[in-house]
């Protein structure tokens, strides 16, 4: 009989009872296994995470070779149109290791052939010292480097260095300044922006225009030669935003050779020098008096007699000895009239006004050579009188230019700057006089050039206006006779003033051509006229017909010649 039995019958052997110890071992194994698989799971998960997903905290192991960029130790300086003013060039400096040099005598002879101005004896002494490093010559030209290499003298080697180069040489020396042999800024913007130039790669863009700078420097130099002056200063400023387009101080220096700079050429007459500016201050006095509303253009003052105060006598240079209206006081540059005008406003009012237009504080321009104005310690009546026509208060030309700019641009003061403002940005500034007063000052400016002391500043087509200034230099506690500061501050085009142009000659002497006059009208006004004629087309100022009826009407001024008397309309 076939019994239905399974093919492979499960053996149902009776197993011996498992000892408790083995049981414990098994469960331990199980737990360990579970732990290990958990650990492996974590590792696997992490592996996937690391390889497939990028985490922020992860350090970047892959090297990406960046763009090749030229690294210089100092950023470039460029002018407003991007012309290079200062850059750092790589140069090779020659050094020697006397310990490995075979024949010092021969080496010196060979070197002398390549570097003719090398001091042979000194070099020989250097090369026979027991040292391993000696500079022989720093900053070689590439040609010199090649020739020295060609000599094949053992023990000579080069080290790459950088040298600050100013391609335009002395053209903008005072504003750029210069650096020392280790490329640290020592003057000008090089010093003021030293840190920024070292850290940044982007070029520093100045507000200077080298073409205008050249025109100004050339005309000033010609005037200094003609009138045998000891120096000069010139500034062109955009009065809509305070950008300084040109700033020149003569004599100047070549910043490429910092060791050869004569001490007297370092002096920046435009920002560091403070001078009694003379009659150009009458611009402030007149604007102040008109703006307070105390007087109008039809009022005037009696200028028949000189003013006697304390031990001083205030006289007029171009004396008319009669009653003068405000335009006449400005046109003939009457000290008496200006003094009376200032007294009408009062001492406190005068001080507050000059404070407002930046006369009582050092100019905020971005170089370290900025002079602080010399202000009388106590502002008395006599000070108010002399300051009204620009004596007894010394300021830098830069302060004057910025202040005058605010008088004719509609009455807004913009702090002067040497940096180009981003295009499209609007300079806000602050209002110092009303637009109406500013318009009157504009007309007065034009009047001085058409009928007054500044006729030599005229530049056909550019509607120049301005004011002359002449003062005697203060030496110690006294005025030095025959040592003048002759200046002219002009602006153009007067129907919509855009640029202020200032020129100042230090200690000019009159010539036969000027009938030995050396005043601002004879010496500085022609400079301003010539500069404007040259820079007008460069700056894109539209030439206009000065005789066109609408221009004449815009510049017309009502001149009263007699007190309460008949008026005549001056058509200029």
């Amino acid at each position: 009989m076939i019994s239905r039995q399974p093919l492979f019958p499960k053996q149902r052997r009776r197993e011996p009872p498992v000892p408790a110890r083995v049981e414990t071992g098994r469960s331990r194994l199980l737990i360990t296994g579970a732990l290990f698989s958990a650990a492996f799971l974590v590792v696997t998960g992490r592996l996937i995470g690391v390889t497939m997903f990028v985490e922020k905290s992860q350090p970047q192991y892959s090297r990406t070779v960046g763009k090749a960029a030229l690294k210089t130790g100092r950023a470039n300086i460029v002018d407003r149109n991007g012309n290079l003013l200062a850059t750092s060039l790589k140069t090779a400096s020659l050094f020697a290791n006397p310990r490995v040099m075979l024949d010092a005598r021969e080496a010196v002879n060979k070197l002398a052939a390549v570097l003719p101005d090398l001091n042979s004896r000194l070099t020989y002494e250097k090369l026979t010292q027991d040292r391993s490093f000696i500079w022989l010559r720093r900053h070689l030209t590439p040609r010199q480097k090649y020739e020295v290499n060609k000599l094949g003298i053992p023990g000579l080697d080069f080290r790459d260095e950088e040298r600050r180069v100013y391609p335009s040489a002395a053209l903008a020396s005072h504003i750029l300044g210069h650096t020392d042999i280790d490329n640290r800024g020592l003057a000008g913007v090089e010093r003021h922006f030293n840190q920024k130039l070292r850290e940044s790669r982007t070029p520093l863009k100045l507000s200077i225009d080298i073409r205008v700078q050249h025109a100004m420097r050339k005309e000033l130099a010609a005037a200094v030669r003609e009138f045998r002056g000891i120096g000069a200063a010139g500034i062109v400023m955009d009065i809509r935003n305070g950008e300084v387009i040109s700033i020149v101080s003569l004599p100047d220096f070549d910043p490429n050779r910092p060791s050869n700079i004569q001490p007297d050429t370092r002096f920046n007459r435009a920002t560091l020098g403070v001078y009694e500016m003379g009659s150009t201050f009458k611009i402030f006095t007149t604007a102040m008096a008109l703006d307070t509303g105390r007087i109008s253009m039809r009022d005037g003052y009696d200028a028949t007699h000189p003013i006697r105060i304390a031990r001083f006598v205030i006289r007029d240079y171009h004396a008319k000895r009669r009653w003068l209206s405000v335009p006449e006081i400005f046109m003939y540059s009457s000290n008496i009239g200006s003094a009376k005008m200032a007294l009408d406003v009062g001492i406190a009012g005068q001080r507050a006004f000059l404070q407002k237009v930046g006369i009582l504080h050092p100019s905020p321009v971005e170089i370290s050579e900025v002079g602080a104005p010399l202000i009388p310690p106590r502002w008395r009546k006599i000070n108010a009188i002399t300051i009204s026509y620009g004596h007894g208060l010394s300021i830098s030309p830069m302060q004057l230019v910025a202040g005058v700019g605010s008088m004719i641009n509609g009455g807004i003061y913009h702090a002067p700057t040497f940096l180009k403002k981003p295009s499209g940005s609007k300079s806000i500034g602050r209002r110092v006089i009303s637009a109406k007063t500013s318009d009157q000052i504009k007309r007065l400016f034009r009047l001085v050039v058409t009928k007054g002391t500044g006729s030599k500043a005229a530049a056909d087509g550019y509607l120049v206006g301005g004011k002359t200034g002449t003062s005697e230099k203060v030496v110690g506690r006294h005025y030095k006779k025959k040592a003048l500061i002759s200046s002219f501050i002009g602006a153009f085009p007067m129907n919509a003033p855009r640029y202020v142009v200032f020129a100042m000659i230090d200690e000019p002497s009159g010539t036969k051509k000027t009938f030995s006059y050396a005043t601002g009208g004879w010496v500085a006004a022609p400079v301003v006229g010539k500069v404007i004629a040259r820079i007008g087309p460069l700056l894109g100022v539209r030439a206009i017909d000065e005789k066109a009826p609408e221009i004449v009407r815009e510049m017309a001024i009502d001149i009263v010649t007699k007190k309460e008397g008949k008026r005549r309309l001056a058509s200029f």
Binding site: T72, L84, S168, H214, G461, R534, P537, A543
Partner: protein, 127 residues
């Protein structure tokens, strides 16, 4: 005896190793090339830098003015030599024969004396 699977795995591992080796050397040589190109670029940048300095040295306004005067007989522009774009006259209509038909620039003639605007006329009279 080695199992088939093991063989396959060994083969894959070797292939991966060789692949990685080849790839690494390829990358290394390309990095070398890149460095060489960078070196060259830097060299050129330096040359450009020097040339720019030289360019602005040669373009000093004083030098250009001198060259312009001596070689080109040029003078600084005067105000009377400039004119507003609006004042440049259009070609007179109907006055010329053929000028209206032929638009080539070589055929443009200066306007007649009675057709110049006032400012331009003033300048002309001066000369």
């Amino acid at each position: 005896m080695i199992k088939r699977a093991t063989l396959i795995w060994m083969f894959l591992a070797t292939a991966a190793g060789i692949g990685l080796f080849v790839l690494k050397y390829k990358v290394k040589s390309m990095e070398g090339q890149l460095a060489a190109i960078h070196g060259k670029t830097l060299e050129n940048l330096e040359a450009v830098h020097v040339l720019k300095a030289e360019w602005s040295y040669l373009n000093q306004p004083a030098r250009l003015e001198d060259l312009g005067r001596r070689l080109l007989n040029l003078e600084p522009v005067k105000a009377t030599q400039t004119i507003d774009i609006e004042d440049i006259p259009f070609r007179p209509v109907g006055a010329s024969n053929g000028a209206a038909r032929n638009s080539s620039l070589t055929n443009v003639r200066p306007p007649a004396a009675d057709q110049v605007p006032p400012l331009f006329a003033k300048i002309r009279r001066k000369q």
